[in-house]
């Protein structure tokens, strides 16, 4: 390992241990690491935004290419900053309204199609008991119906309706269980990577 690598990786190991120290109790080392990550992220993002967004999408089109229509969204973006002024914050409602209107116009049709209509059509598949694929489709359709029955609160969950709602709860619980298991795996993966990083660092330092 080169000297620079030893120092930078050593700093990474130190900050990792500072973050882990919160597991015992709050302390200045944890606060140092936490403030560092917030500050570095904010500074990094500001510079990235300047070189990747402001320069190619505002400075170059307006100043160099004289595409004057870019002034309109630029002014709207600047007016958003009036949000921080008590007297002038009402001005920011205009760019926010424009932003919300455009966002909703773009998002609602595609969300309706991609999140509701297409997954809904995926439940309308051939079903049966003669093969695993057909039985799987039956389970999916039954699970979706029962889960939807559970969320229908305009009727009391008794009798047959209640039984279907119960199956819906169990279906949801199976889903949540799978989600929980994957979440555990995800969080543990991050811990494993940190431990592997620290192990490799000390192994290289000690020449093992």
């Amino acid at each position: 390992m080169e000297t620079g690598e030893i120092l930078w990786n050593g700093l990474a190991v130190f900050l990792t241990l500072c973050i882990f120290s919160i597991l015992y109790k709050d302390n200045p080392f944890y606060k140092l690491a936490e403030h560092l990550v917030v500050g570095v992220s904010a500074g990094y993002f500001a510079i990235i935004l300047y070189y990747n967004s402001f320069i190619p999408k505002v400075w170059v089109p307006i100043v160099q290419q004289h595409q004057w229509y870019y002034i309109v969204p630029t002014v709207l973006g600047i007016l958003m900053w009036t949000r921080f002024s008590r007297k002038r914050s009402w001005i920011s409602r205009y760019p926010i309204s424009a932003y919300m209107g455009i966002g909703m116009g773009v998002a609602i049709p595609v969300a309706m199609q991609a999140l509701i209509l297409v997954p809904l059509s995926a439940t309308m598949q051939p079903m049966g008991f003669t093969s695993l694929a057909l039985f799987n489709n039956l389970l999916v359709a039954a699970g979706v119906l029962c889960a939807l029955v559970y969320f229908f609160f305009s009727k009391e969950h008794v009798g047959t309706f209640g039984a279907l709602a119960k199956i819906g709860i169990w279906t949801l619980m199976v889903g949540f269980g799978a989600g929980f298991g994957l979440t555990v795996m995800g969080r543990v993966s991050l811990l494993i990577e940190r431990f592997i990083f620290m192990k490799d660092y000390f192994t290289n330092i000690l020449g093992l």
């Binding site: 773009v106 997954p119 555990v184 993966s189």
Partner: protein, 274 residues
């Protein structure tokens, strides 16, 4: 205090120590665990394996350093596989903390395979507002990316000749740690019918399986396990994710044991109350 009451009131720091030991100790014990591949990861591998030299493929590196552990191994393996096959890669990033990370991956892989920027690959860089960028790329990449990450006009690059939008890409693999995955599905696949696959963190994986059923994505790699499966399929030379799977197995056993102990304590104390 009864034994099960002690179980219910166990100081959480003992659990932390147990987890730390469960992670640290297996790292020093040489053993392997079998890695079984799942159909959703195999479909991604088969898609990439069927690409031919000169085909164009888009990789979206949309994860921050905090998701690097799970997503970087799969991004590395897929980039290696594509470069080895002579596929022309288009890199983009829609996460604000990812540009440097993506640039590291691109430079490292391009040096390894002796690939030339602008000819064999292009790194378009980062732009904010992922949904709008994904939508604009469906019309023309140049709307959001008139220049690449390094400030070179994209029209001056040989790789961008004849490339307009998703229709000119064989497919897209997006490595996601957040809600941008929904944007790729809704906008790139929903609106422009692009072939999209996702590499997501373990936390998110359960939410995206329905999209395989509905064929809105052609494959899904979930978390470290998905990355390890892909490394196994691709016979990757660098098995970063696979190294972690034996540790995953041990820690999962420890978590299961704690859940069983906790439930025993709960039911015993409930019985005592009755």
């Amino acid at each position: 205090m009864a034994f099960y009451d002690k179980l219910m009131n166990l100081d959480r720091r003992y659990v932390y120590v147990a987890m730390a030991l469960a992670v640290a100790v297996p790292l020093f014990i040489p053993f392997q665990v079998p890695i079984y591949t799942t159909p959703e990861v195999k479909s991604v591998y088969d898609f990439v394996e069927n690409l031919k030299e000169g085909d164009r493929f888009l990789l979206a590196i949309d994860y921050d350093p905090n998701a690097m552990a799970e997503l970087h191994p799969m991004a590395l393996t897929i980039t290696r596989q594509c470069f080895a096959k002579g596929v022309k890669l288009f890199f983009v990033t829609l996460s604000q903390n990812a540009p440097g990370l993506a640039e590291q991956l691109v430079s490292r892989m391009s040096k390894e395979f002796n690939k030339k920027n602008g000819v064999d690959y292009v790194y378009l860089g980062y732009k904010p507002y992922p949904a709008l960028v994904i939508l604009s790329m469906g019309q023309n990449f140049r709307i959001s990316f008139p220049m690449d990450y390094y400030g070179t006009p994209v029209d001056s690059m040989p790789i961008m000749q004849g490339v307009r939008n998703y229709d000119d890409m064989k497919g897209i693999i997006a490595f996601e740690a957040g809600w941008v995955a929904d944007s790729w599905i809704q906008n790139a696949n929903g609106r422009y019918r692009a072939e999209v696959a996702l590499g997501v963190t373990g936390v998110m994986a359960a939410d995206y399986y329905p999209y395989i059923q509905s064929k809105q994505i052609f494959g899904l790699m979930g978390g470290l396990k998905g990355a390890a499966e892909y490394e196994t399929l691709a016979s990757a030379k660098e098995r970063i994710a696979s190294r972690g799977m034996k540790v995953q197995t041990i820690t999962h056993i420890v978590v299961i044991l704690f859940i069983i102990i906790g439930n025993i304590g709960f039911f015993m104390s409930k019985r005592k109350q009755i």
